[in-house]
């Protein structure tokens, strides 16, 4: 269905090709998962399938890409619209109209299909994707999962044979991601569509994949094969696979179910060992009180309270994970803690101060927030200038931010434009800027959005160091695996109220939505990460010797 024949892609002004000599065949009816680090060329590979590379992006493509027998050299993306449906990263930015039904029809209108055909296909697509209820709704009113399904529907109406998706679930909460993946699963099984998707959150998709394509980046050769083959030694792997590697299971399990069936022996082996506690260690030499206190906090927009009486305390050295559905009030709580939102009743104290009453100049010494889009914090034209400006803002010795950034993300050219950094580097730059003023409370809103496993590991280390240095950290996140790795306490917010507050194992192990894969495999034992298991096993071995 899709053939890459000795394909290399070089963008203008780039010293080296992004993809070099890719040979790849994706047969009809497969769900093919493309994995790789950020910046490795995943997106370029996906965009080459429908001709956006090179027709839209520029650059040079050598070799040949054949899609359903059509050569992308002489077919522009628009000429492939009836063969390949392409869904970009952010569904909202690809919408042309403003109502669900019109959006579904847009592609067909461009192709000039007769109106009876359009009418019929729109109805079919509405049913296929479960969008019939939403047909007259404005696109901006939909939830993330619904928007993503509309985006998929809007390319399906032209009846393509191939669906290409770039990180369809990275911005979604676990349940919305399930919704989208179930839809894709159905398209592959019921319609025999060929689906190619790139995704960082492997734990969500790898069990559905028939084939995995690993794009290692740095123009190293692209590998492809069955998921079990590729993941054996891939540098990026979901926790279930890592646990499989630790336990030495062959072939590697891809889903919780597979692993659970193999895990009997491992559970017996682990039964006598003690799980690590996942609680905060007391900060050495600190006698200070809590870094943040909220009491019966109510805040909201207009007449709707989003937070309905939240009372909690955050101490120095804690890493608190804030979890809950989209719209449950996570971001609002962070905004209230940082003074961007005034509570309508109740009390917020951060580092002994009321954040909404602080002048911006003083605020950053008490609390710092890395927003969901870290680029919002950045406005200078180079990384170096950004750091100098941050020193000035914080009133600290010049060079402080640079040094922090070097430590968090080494080897970045300071003359680079912040927009050219990778997601992970941009996040660390924003974090360095926030940390320059040494606020006792550091807040992060969805920090792992768009981060690959390597960048995530780096973030985990950074957060642990910060906690050890006595910062209190709150992160709002959907990423259960990150929470399992790093959090010392978990708060679950639902409908503006605190429904759970406790140590990480206590809250997540028994929860169907928030349990990490390892906990699901090894329940009722309270293991959270493959690393914990590996360390415990290694310890037991040394003791027995």
């Amino acid at each position: 269905m899709i053939t890459f024949d000795h394909v290399s892609v070089t963008f203008a002004d780039a010293p080296a090709p992004v993809l070099r000599d890719v040979n790849l065949t994706i047969p009809e009816g497969e769900l093919c998962l493309v994995i790789g680090r950020t910046g490795s060329g995943k997106t370029t590979l996906l965009r080459a399938i429908n001709g956006l590379v090179p027709h839209f992006s520029g650059g040079t493509l050598s070799g040949r890409v054949l899609v359903d027998g059509r050569d992308t050299r002489d077919h522009r993306p628009r000429d492939l619209a009836d063969v390949v449906g392409f869904v970009g990263q952010d569904p909202l930015s690809g919408f042309v109209t403003d109502v669900v039904e019109d959006e579904l029809a847009y592609g067909m209108e461009s192709l000039g299909l007769p109106s009876e055909v359009m009418r019929k296909r729109v109805e079919e697509t509405l049913d296929l994707l479960g969008l019939a209820e939403l047909r007259h709704r404005p696109l901006t009113d939909l939830s993330g999962g619904q928007q993503q399904r509309v985006a998929i529907g809007s390319v399906l109406t032209t009846h393509p044979r191939i669906l290409v998706l770039d990180e369809p679930t990275s911005a979604l909460d676990p349940l919305a991601a399930e919704e989208v993946l179930a839809t894709l699963q159905r398209l592959v099984h019921d319609l025999g569509l060929t689906v190619v998707l790139a995704e960082h959150r492997l734990e969500r998709v790898v069990q559905y994949a028939d084939r995995v394509v690993l794009v290692p980046g740095g123009a190293r050769p692209v590998r492809d094969g069955s998921p079990e083959e590729v993941l054996v030694d891939s540098p990026i792997a979901p926790p279930v696979v890592e646990l499989g590697r630790v336990a030495g299971w062959q072939p590697l399990p891809l889903s919780v179910r597979d692993a659970r069936r193999k895990a009997g022996a491992l559970r017996a082996q682990l039964a006598d060992l003690t799980e690590p506690p996942h609680t905060a260690e007391p900060v050495a030499g600190s006698t200070a009180g809590p870094v943040a206190v909220t009491e019966h906090l109510v805040a909201g927009y207009g007449q709707t309270p989003v937070l309905q009486g939240i009372s909690t305390t955050i101490s120095a050295g804690e890493i608190v994970a804030l979890m809950g559905r989209n719209g449950a009030g996570k971001s609002t709580l962070l905004k209230t803690l940082v003074g961007m939102k005034r509570p309508s009743s109740g009390r917020v104290h951060v580092d002994g101060q009321v954040p909404a009453e602080l002048k911006p100049r003083d605020l950053l010494r008490h609390v710092g927030l890395v927003p969901q889009v870290p680029a919002d914090l950045l406005y200078e034209s180079t990384v170096g200038r950004e750091c100098t400006q941050a020193d000035k803002d914080a009133g600290v010795e010049s060079g402080t931010t640079r040094a922090l950034f070097e430590r968090l993300s080494p080897c970045v050219d300071p003359a680079q434009h912040p927009r050219d950094l990778s997601e992970g580097q941009r996040l660390t730059l924003a974090l360095a800027i926030v940390l320059a003023a040494e606020p006792p409370l550091v807040l992060l809103d969805e920090p792992t959005r768009g981060l690959d496993y390597t960048a995530k590991h780096r973030l985990v280390e950074i957060l642990r160091d910060l906690a050890a240095a006595g910062h209190g950290i709150v992160l709002a996140t959907h990423d259960v695996e990150l929470v399992a790795e790093v959090a010392t306490r978990v708060l679950v917010i639902a409908d503006g109220e605190l429904v759970a507050d406790g140590s990480t194992p206590d809250v997540v192990v028994s929860s169907p939505a928030f349990a990490p894969q390892v906990a699901k495999i090894l329940a009722p034992q309270r293991w959270l990460t493959p690393t914990d298991v590996a360390l415990a096993l290694a310890d037991a071995e040394t003791v027995s010797r």
Binding site: R47, P77, D90, G94, D98, T304, M340, P360, L377, Y379
Partner: protein, 376 residues
């Protein structure tokens, strides 16, 4: 008879009909400064909006336009009554402390405020406010964006650009708010020229990124695939259409101003229409696009358009017959009631009953508490 022709069959009226109806009323408003017919037009638009608006977000825009209209009136009064020396009359209301300004400039600061000046400013402001409210009514009954779907094929690209601009403008405002909030986190106050630069960079970069994304999405969904035309034919149709539209504009101006030479009015309008129609016919032939579920243009559309047109025509006739009733010689007299003009305007209230009722799902739900804007 097709059900679309029934005025009782629930459906959305063609947005074009609403706009023509509202433009008819606006044209009527533009020919009078008598507050009686002007206020009547306001009442008529408000009544029809209340009767036939949907629960879509843009349906609330009538209120916004009404507020804008009040601001227009206030500004007009302040500027004309307080700052202009030319328009004062003999009935002095009160005297403000005056700052002397050379008399030949026509400007004053403070001084006497006369009833005549205030009333004249009020009447003139009311005229503008009424026209604004007509546009607001059109926008809330048939959204501008839905109207853009019916842009003729020859102007399709311009229509798409307008739709995208309509989407991006609110997005820019949200982005700016987010970025400003983020700057507070860096310890910066959002004041001064420097903050504008800091704000502009991320917002514009974000907008640029989004437009590129959108262009890629449109390209991969087949935008422009069926448009095939040589450069010459494209130029010729473009020239015809724009020449025609220019003619229409001049013609409409001539007709509404009512003061220019005879050839500027109706003949120019008709000539422009003809030219534009020819251009659009040839331009429309070159696109192979089709339209999904176009709103039908049936009897209710004709009726609604007709009532708007009737209001305009009666007003024009009334101005011909009794100009003194519609442009008051002395603002202090009690405004007369121009019967003919008022009757015409009252015809235009009929769409509240003649336009088909909305389908149940589109009706505003009054029983439930008002739906609040979801926090961004």
């Amino acid at each position: 008879m097709r059900p679309q022709h029934l005025v009782t069959f629930p459906r959305n009226l063609h947005p074009g009909a609403w706009w023509l109806w509202a433009l008819g009323l606006a044209a009527a408003a533009s020919r009078t400064q008598n507050p009686v017919p002007l206020l009547l037009i306001l009442v008529v638009t408000g009544f029809v909006v209340a009767a036939r608006r949907s629960n879509a977000p843009w349906a609330k825009s009538y209120g916004a336009f009404l507020k804008l209209a009040l601001i227009v009136i206030a500004i007009r009064i302040v500027f004309q009554a307080v700052l202009s020396s030319g328009s004062q009359g003999p009935t002095v209301l009160f005297t403000l402390p005056e700052i002397p300004v050379p008399s030949d400039t026509g400007i004053k600061l403070g001084g006497i405020i006369s009833l005549e000046a205030v009333l004249r400013a009020f009447y003139e402001g009311l005229q503008l406010a009424t026209i604004l409210c007509c546009i607001g009514a059109a926008n809330s009954l048939g959204s501008a964006r839905r109207l853009l779907r019916y842009v003729p094929g020859a102007l399709y690209e311009i229509g798409v650009a307008c739709v995208i601009a309509l989407t991006f403008a609110p997005q820019l405002v949200t982005d700016a708010g987010r970025v400003r909030a983020a700057h507070r986190l860096r310890g910066q106050t959002s004041r001064g020229l420097g903050s504008l630069k800091r704000l502009a960079m991320p917002v514009l970069e974000g907008a640029l990124d989004r437009s590129i994304e959108l262009a890629a999405a449109m390209d991969s969904r087949g935008y422009g695939r069926t448009t095939d035309a040589g450069r010459v034919s494209r130029r010729v149709t473009g020239l015809l259409v724009f020449g025609g539209l220019l003619g229409v504009c001049v013609g409409v101006y001539g007709l509404l101003a009512g003061t220019s030479a005879g050839w500027v009015g109706l003949p120019m309008l008709l000539g422009g229409c003809l030219l534009a129609a020819v251009g659009m016919f040839f331009g429309g032939r070159r696109t192979g696009r089709t339209k999904y579920r176009p709103d039908p243009w049936a009897l209710p559309e004709w009726l609604v358009t007709g009532t708007g047109l009737a209001a305009a025509v009666t007003m024009f006739v009334a101005v011909e017959r009794t100009p003194a009733d519609l442009f008051l010689a002395s603002v202090t007299q009690v405004p007369p009631v121009p019967l003919l003009a008022c009757a015409g305007i009252l015809i235009a209230i009929a769409p509240a009953f003649l336009a088909p009722p909305l389908p149940r799902s589109d009706r505003p739900q009054t029983a439930q508490p008002q739906q609040l804007e979801v926090a961004a």
